[in-house]
């Protein structure tokens, strides 16, 4: 399945990219994606402990399965206001 992954703030700084298109096995979970990303971008490994994940613009959690064609965003806890 194909998904788009967007990186924000520190996460974008670590990867050096704003977004990537990934082709993952169907049934991949948020946890699985995080492992994949840590392998692909070793600099992300440390951040993956506290990172937030949004799947199709809702907060996603480790056990959630990512649907095909999803927009997934990876970012640190928010600091707006």
């Amino acid at each position: 399945m194909k998904i788009t992954v967007l990186f924000f703030a520190t996460l974008r700084d670590y990867t050096g990219v704003k977004s990537v298109e990934l082709d993952l096995a169907p049934g991949t979970t948020v946890q699985g994606l995080k492992r994949y990303l840590a392998k692909t971008y070793p600099k992300l490994t440390e951040s993956m402990k506290t990172v937030l994940v949004a799947v199709n613009r809702e907060f996603g959690f480790d056990e959630n399965i990512i649907p095909d064609d999803s927009e997934v965003a990876i970012f640190p806890p928010v600091s707006g206001g």
Binding site: R57, V78, G80
Partner: protein
């Protein structure tokens, strides 16, 4: 003549300066008698343990999700304070210098004893928890991304 009961809601992410008077007018109904407003302002000087000066902040957002979460907060406010009439939540993004208004929450109602102060406070507290916006600081002492600490739970 009873005025219409459609309550105005404004949610916006903008690079432009706020016009507070215009925004307030947009969430004011004929029945509205009171407004509680919170605004965040870019500090040039932060005192305390991590005392430092700020040259500017750069705000970044994941806009479609941020807009959806801001709208969710306006819904949460209306559930908790059903007498609230108008709600506006506006986040400014881009490069902001000290003194600039960075965020605005307005809650209006017929009277001031309807919870509008608590509602506005809730609005800014929630925004700082669940709306995907980040700021990067440039100044003396602690340059770089400011990280929050709130971890949303499922359903938030």
């Amino acid at each position: 003549m009873m005025p219409s009961q459609s309550f105005p809601t404004i949610v916006s992410i903008t690079e432009d300066e706020f016009d507070m008077d215009a925004l307030l007018a947009m969430v004011t109904l004929p029945t509205t008698g009171a407004a509680a407003i919170f605004t965040g302002i870019v500090r040039g000087f932060t005192s305390g343990e991590e005392s430092h000066e700020t040259s500017y902040l750069e705000y970044e957002t994941y806009r479609p999700m941020a807009e959806a979460k801001m709208r969710q907060i306006t819904d949460e406010i209306r559930v908790r304070w059903p007498t609230v009439e108008g709600v506006a939540i506006v986040q400014r993004v881009g490069r902001l210098y000290p003194g600039a208004l960075s965020v605005l929450v307005i809650c209006t109602a017929a009277h001031r004893d309807t919870g509008i102060f608590d509602a506005a406070r809730y609005g800014i507290d929630r925004l700082k928890e669940i709306v995907p916006v980040w700021k990067k600081e440039t100044g003396t002492g602690r340059d770089g991304w400011v990280e929050g600490s709130y971890i949303p739970r499922p359903g938030e």
